[in-house]
């Protein structure tokens, strides 16, 4: 029987009602009294020296309140980076200043030079066009390898070169890996690019700064996945505003996918400018602006080598990656190609020796940071592509080669050679489940059908692992994180028994308002409608780290469980007093406290009322009230895994790829709301198919963005995608968090790109085009056609 509430029920989302009736409250829906509007004048060139900025004509225009340039930001900090990577020689990464507005130089198309604040957005925009900027253009720095050559143009004049860091992991394994590769019976090598992407949440970024001259408090409304992180970074590092004078509110947020984690210059600008002009300042990004100012994702160039013995056991793996940082270091950028990538290179396999070298490079492009999956898709893509290539070279079934090298179910917990310990998993089960769901036994018949129509059919498998819920604070601190990664929750039980849960997690589509109450209601045995989630406002939620890295239920949910446990403990003491029984005898079930073995009981509502009207109350033992806070710091990452299987049809005459079927068999541990989990997988898979076939953030050699709008950047549309087959019935619960959950937000985007590419290569091979061993994403018709035709 499907449950109709609590953990495991597909409860309908309560937040949907406001979204479906136009009553959501997104940041751009907020308009404050006496508000002004900001318009950013951005660099049109990738690289140049600013000789002069003449704002006089703009200042004289109708409605203009003030024009800002870097000069107004003297004494203001740069936009900080939240993660310091140490290179393989023990030196800290290079960390150039990222000014709020360009100081003397512009370093990418979109770098903000000046801002007009005016009475209306139209007036601000008009005035920005009247600002005269004299720029001497410098050569763009685009190709990562060329950027590291001697004498290359430098993005940052005060640095020695364009290398941010040269990182090795596990550095002690470097020589052993090389030796194992040299000795191997077979080595498969693959060079590939993980294409640069733009996250493109449908809601563009918006920020409204509101300085209150009476109290000297600042409020920032912003499209953020983590308002407390913005408060900390902006308050402490950029503007010098202490937390108690700065409130950050991220109301309804229209998707993030990583791009709304970071602290952006525009947020600091509106907050600062509001105090300068003594009025609220609002900035709304256009989509065109989003393409050049939201942090981009991926953009790795990699060579991967997989060594095997004569029995096809993996013996060593080496990966050399160039990772594009863009012009400045975005908040988490340095961690993506390193700790979120290198530690995942064991994948699901027993490879004993692994070494990765990562060179992070500054270029004159928009900063690059996490995008759904962040480092883990890059690791999975290389690994699952090189394994597929190896299977083809060895003439073995790609599923068999994987099975042979999988970590076995009985080997958990499993210490990988790349630092992390997988707590649980059963990769054989998910692979078998996926293959069964995808109907592989009848695949040959479908191939014949396609062949009869002049098409080539192919099947691609990928099996992924990810590290989610990031992660133990002391560990990430050692790895360079400048923040803790716990999560928090306050459970406030009201006098009549209803509950407000204040969480540091943030929902921007994930359905926390529905799923979180399912957990609390289950624990207390009450109706989930009695529990309401409060999130997104630093003024009324405990300090939390927000939502990314598939961490909300695994870390935020665990904090909520811990706080609810404290509530239960205290409520039992109150119940014991009311029932004149011993606390040890009190049981809680279905919202009733009862004395074990008797028919004496007291209802939840009576206990909560007693807590706030403590007339008959153990005042000598416990305080009145019923409100508890917990901070939960996980002891390990969680490790979701799964088998993704893609079936495609390729038209050999045009190179067009059609995705005919897509299967995802995931192990997410326990699942709170299956409907929401499946929705997360659907969305992630769509983004992964988008990366594999459609999406590409392309620059020309002068640093001009070629794909700067939806006319050029190919977002997946409804008719590009099939219905998906998804399953999460293979469950190995996480052993180190109270819910046994692993997280599901990024899986789809991690597992799907290699499945799609493997399927296309399979189709081409079945069609006799065996010379094609790899095609770089996105696999557009022209690229596939060129590969078929040897061009």
């Amino acid at each position: 029987m499907p449950k109709d509430g609590g953990i495991g029920a597909s409860s309908k989302r309560r937040e949907d009602v406001r979204f479906l009736t136009g009553r959501g409250r997104y940041t751009d829906d907020i308009n404050l009294n006496n508000q002004t509007y900001a318009w950013f004048l951005r660099s049109e060139v990738a690289h140049g020296t600013i000789n002069a900025i003449d704002t006089s004509a703009a200042e004289a225009m109708d409605g203009v309140v003030k024009v800002f340039t870097a000069r107004d930001f003297e004494g203001v900090g740069g936009v900080p980076c939240g993660w310091q990577v140490t290179d393989r020689f023990g030196n800290p990464m290079k960390e150039p200043k990222h000014p709020v507005l360009a100081e003397g130089k512009v370093r990418h198309v979109g770098d903000p030079i000046a801002v007009v604040v005016a009475e209306s957005e139209a007036q601000a925009r008009d005035a920005a066009e009247a600002i005269a900027v004299d720029i001497t253009e410098l050569p763009a720095v685009m190709d990562m390898k060329a950027a590291l050559a001697d004498g290359a143009t430098k993005v940052h004049d005060d640095l020695d070169d364009n290398l941010c860091y040269d990182w090795g992991f596990v550095e002690e394994n470097r020589e052993a890996v090389d030796a194992a590769i040299a000795e191997a019976a077979h080595v498969t090598t693959l060079e590939l690019t993980n294409n640069r992407l733009v996250a493109n949440p449908m809601e563009p970024r918006v920020a409204v700064g509101d300085f209150n001259p009476g109290t000297e408090d600042y409020t920032l409304y912003t499209t953020s996945q983590n308002p407390h992180v913005i408060r900390l970074l902006m308050g402490a590092f950029v503007l010098g505003i202490p937390e108690h004078k700065l409130r950050v509110i991220a109301p309804d947020v229209g998707g993030g996918f990583g791009s709304k984690i970071y602290h952006y210059a525009e947020e600091a600008f509106v907050t600062f400018a509001s105090a300068q002009v003594r009025r609220p300042v609002k900035w709304t990004s256009t989509r065109s602006e989003a393409f050049i100012s939201d942090a981009h994702g991926r953009d790795h160039v990699t060579k991967i080598e997989l060594a095997m013995d004569a029995d096809h056991n993996f013996t060593a793996l080496r990966c050399d990656t160039y990772a594009n940082m863009g012009a400045y270091l975005s908040t988490f950028a340095p961690s993506i190609p390193t700790w979120l990538h290198g530690t995942l290179l064991a994948g699901n396999y027993r490879t004993p020796l692994i070494y990765t070298n990562v060179k992070a490079v500054f270029t004159t492009t928009t900063p690059v940071d996490a995008y759904r999956g962040a480092g883990r898709p890059e690791a999975t893509f290389q690994l699952e592509r090189v394994i597929d290539k190896a299977a083809r070279e060895l003439g073995v079934d790609p599923a068999e080669l994987r099975r042979k090298n999988f970590i076995k179910p009985e080997e958990f917990p499993y210490q990988t050679p790349v630092a992390v310990v997988y707590d649980t998993g059963n990769y054989h089960a998910t692979l078998d489940k996926g293959l069964e769901m995808a109907g592989v036994d009848t695949f040959e018949a479908r191939c014949a059908e396609s062949a009869a129509n002049g098409k080539l059919r192919g099947l691609g498998i990928a099996h992924f692992i990810e590290a989610c819920g990031i992660a133990p604070s002391n560990l990430v601190g050692q790895l360079g994180a400048r923040a803790g990664l716990y999560e928090s929750a306050t459970v406030r039980v009201n006098a009549t028994g209803s509950i407000s849960v204040m969480t540091g997690s943030h929902s921007h589509g994930q359905g926390h308002e529905t799923a979180f109450p399912q957990v609390v209601a289950e624990m207390l045995g009450i109706d989930e409608g009695m529990v309401e989630v409060v999130h997104g406002d630093t003024a009324n939620t405990p300090m939390g780290m927000g939502t990314y890295g598939s961490r909300s239920i695994a870390v935020g949910g665990s904090a909520m469980v811990r706080a609810t446990e404290k509530i239960i403990n205290k409520a039992k003491k109150i119940a014991a007093h009311l029932l004149e029984a011993s606390e040890a005898d009190i049981e809680l079930a279905d919202g009733q406290f009862s004395v074990a073995g008797t028919d004496k009981s007291v209802a939840w509502g009576d206990v909560t009322l007693a807590a706030y009207v403590p007339h008959n109350y153990p005042l000598e033992d416990i305080e009145p009230g019923l409100e508890e806070t917990a901070f939960y710091d996980p002891s390990n990452f969680t490790y979701p895994s799964g088998a993704y299987i893609c079936e495609v049809e390729v038209d050999p005459d045009t190179g067009k790829v059609e995705v005919l079927g897509f299967t995802a068999a995931d192990d997410f541990g326990n699942v709170i709301n299956p409907m929401i989990v499946e929705g997360q997988v659907h969305g992630g898979v769509a983004q992964g198919i988008g990366q594999a076939l459609l999406e590409n953030c392309a620059y020309d050699e002068n640093g001009q963005l070629l794909s700067g709008s939806y006319m050029d950047y190919t977002m997946p549309r409804a008719d590009d995608l099939p219905m998906f087959e998804v399953d999460h019935s293979c469950i190995t619960p996480c052993t180190h968090n109270p819910l046994g959950v692993k997280g599901c937000g990024e899986a789809g985007a991690i597992g799907s790109p290699p499945a799609v590419v493997n399927a296309v290569i399979d189709a081409l091979h079945r069609g006799g085009h065996t010379h094609v061993t790899h095609i770089d994403m996105p696999l557009t018709p022209s690229r596939v056609w060129a590969a078929i035709n040897g061009q």
Binding site: P2, R23, Y26, R717
Partner: protein
């Protein structure tokens, strides 16, 4: 400035607009009907779809001054008279056809226009019709299901735990 009067969701509303003011801006900023969203500046995303005289129109591609006198329906006008969710809205909730909700108003308005002209569309027809509406969250799977369900056709319910 030009004076514009339109009937929105059955109510007559007026305002003064510049020649360049888009219908989407007029609805959101002057009439405070913020359910109509703006997701792009190239008329590609469909977050802004409203009905103008019964036709689905991208409100970011129309000048407010050009719709003087028109009858306009926005997402705020799609619920039943008693305030409960309309059939399409209810199907979106039942089938989890939305996550962040940003594309949703446009999706619902497009779906309503589709079902008016094609009351029993095939899955392929639904996908084709949604060409002008981008959703980044759902992968469209549940949006398509919701629209099929709203048209009275059988679709499997969202998976429930055992």
């Amino acid at each position: 400035m030009t004076s514009v009067t339109i009937t929105v969701n059955g109510q007559s509303r007026s305002g003064d607009v510049e020649g360049r003011t888009l219908l989407s801006t007029f609805l959101r900023d002057q009439l405070t009907l913020t359910g109509t969203h703006v997701g792009c500046d190239t008329s590609q995303c469909g977050a802004c779809v409203v009905h103008v005289d019964g036709e689905a129109v991208k409100a970011c591609s129309v000048l407010a001054a050009d719709v003087d006198g028109a009858e306009i329906t926005t997402i705020e006008g799609m619920a039943n008279a008693d305030g409960s969710l309309g059939v399409i809205q209810q199907a979106f909730q039942d089938h989890h056809g939305l996550q962040c909700g940003f594309c949703t108003p446009g999706m619902v308005m497009s779906a309503a226009a589709l079902l008016k002209e094609n009351p029993k569309p095939t899955e392929a027809e639904v996908r084709h019709y949604l060409e002008g509406n981008i959703c980044r969250c759902t992968g469209y799977h549940n949006i398509v299901k919701a629209i099929m369900a709203a048209s009275g056709q059988d679709v499997a319910p969202p998976m429930a735990a055992e």
